[in-house]
């Protein structure tokens, strides 16, 4: 892999880490608030359903995770399993797609439930 690509991946992972740091904080505060207030699942769904704001927030969260985690997994596979080339690219891209698909499906479920 070229140094240029490695550099871009590094920037992508750092940038997504910044997004994740903010999203995790907001997510934990929201969870804490919901638990503190004793909101039921139905009440939570009542607030998220149709909310474009929450749809956008959790979509960004999921996409940031789908960028961040596969790049880290790639480094682990390269160093500990000696993975290289096409097979590594397939595994990493597949992992990214699965993360994005599963995450966005969940986001859509609480938006459109």
């Amino acid at each position: 892999m070229s140094a240029r690509t490695e550099t871009r991946l590094w920037i992508a992972q750092r940038a997504s880490a910044v997004v994740l740091a903010l999203c995790v904080v907001v997510h934990l505060i929201v969870i804490g608030y919901a638990m503190q207030g004793g909101l039921s699942a139905a009440e939570i769904l009542g607030r998220t359903r149709g909310s474009v704001g929450w749809l956008a927030f959790y979509s960004v969260f999921v996409l940031a995770a789908a960028v961040h985690a596969p790049i880290g997994l790639r480094a682990v596979l390269m160093e500990w399993a000696g993975a290289r080339g096409r097979s590594l690219a397939i595994v990493v891209h597949a992992f990214a797609l699965v993360l994005a698909a599963v995450g966005l499906r969940a986001v859509w479920a609480v938006f459109a439930a």
């Binding site: 892999m1 240029r4 490695e6």
Partner: protein, 262 residues
């Protein structure tokens, strides 16, 4: 007459020293214990008094030359400045060659790859002035000067290189010392090869392989922080990538001017 105080140390040390090349074994020696004894003193005693065939390297004996680094009780150290009292638990010493380098014989490693990586990381100064130009004036308190100062006292002992797990996992990784050297030159305002050097240290074998485990910084006998230098390189490369100046050199700029420089 005041009696001379007895040294509080034990009579002798149990020393195990690596013998052989990559394949070999530890050989046991008993070495008299002395006050203020260094690990290098112990090795020298063995070579001078007990077994003249023992091979090891040293030169200055005062922590300047960087040639006497060995693995002492599992930790890479400069042996000339390491007191036995500090490291010999229960008067046991196990002395081996540095990790991550091919063993030539006994305590001597082949340092070629270590120094070749300095060259690959653009470790040469690329001057922008000639001898007819005036001296460059670099403000001591400028940020670049302070960054360069922080890393410039490296003595090339390879303790950081031997302590780095990433080097063990990725033999191509340039390693902390070479990257630290590159960072001092990136911060040298007299240097004219910034972009080439940043390209040379970017990527999988360069600074982006570092996991910030800090072993190099923990073990550096000069108390340098190669980890900080590597982080600096990552920042500089990211910035130069985002501004577009790094990966699209003008056609008249030689692609790897540093590679052939000597």
């Amino acid at each position: 007459m005041t009696p001379v105080a007895e040294s509080p140390v034990m009579d002798s040390l149990n020393v195990k020293v690596w013998r052989g090349g990559e394949q070999g074994r530890y050989q046991r020696f008993r070495v008299p214990r002395e006050a203020n004894q260094t690990v290098l003193d112990v090795v020298t005693h063995i070579q001078r008094r007990l077994d003249a065939t023992l091979s090891y390297r040293f030169a200055c004996r005062v922590g300047m030359c960087g040639s006497c680094a060995m693995t002492v009780n599992g930790v890479a150290r400069w042996t000339c400045r390491t007191h036995v009292a500090k490291v010999a638990a229960d008067d046991h010493l196990e002395i081996g060659p540095l990790r991550n380098l091919p063993v030539i014989k006994d305590l001597v490693t082949d340092m070629r790859e270590f120094f070749d990586k300095w060259a690959r990381a653009g470790g040469h100064h690329a001057p922008t002035a000639t001898r007819r130009d005036d001296f460059a004036r670099v403000a001591p308190d400028s940020r670049a000067r302070r960054e360069a100062d922080a890393g410039v006292e490296c003595i090339g002992c390879a303790v950081c290189y031997a302590s780095c797990d990433v080097v063990a996992w990725k033999p191509d990784y340039l390693g902390p010392a070479a990257l630290n050297r590159a960072w001092t030159l990136v911060n040298d305002v007299r240097d004219g090869a910034r972009a080439e050097r940043l390209r040379a240290v970017a990527g999988d074998a360069g600074c982006h392989a570092c996991h910030t485990q800090l072993s190099c910084t923990e073990r550096c006998p000069r108390h340098l922080a190669p980890t900080a230098s590597i982080a600096g390189l990552k920042r500089a490369i990211a910035l130069a990538t985002l501004t577009g100046e790094l990966w699209n050199p003008p056609d008249d700029e030689p692609r790897w001017p540093l590679a052939g420089a000597r």
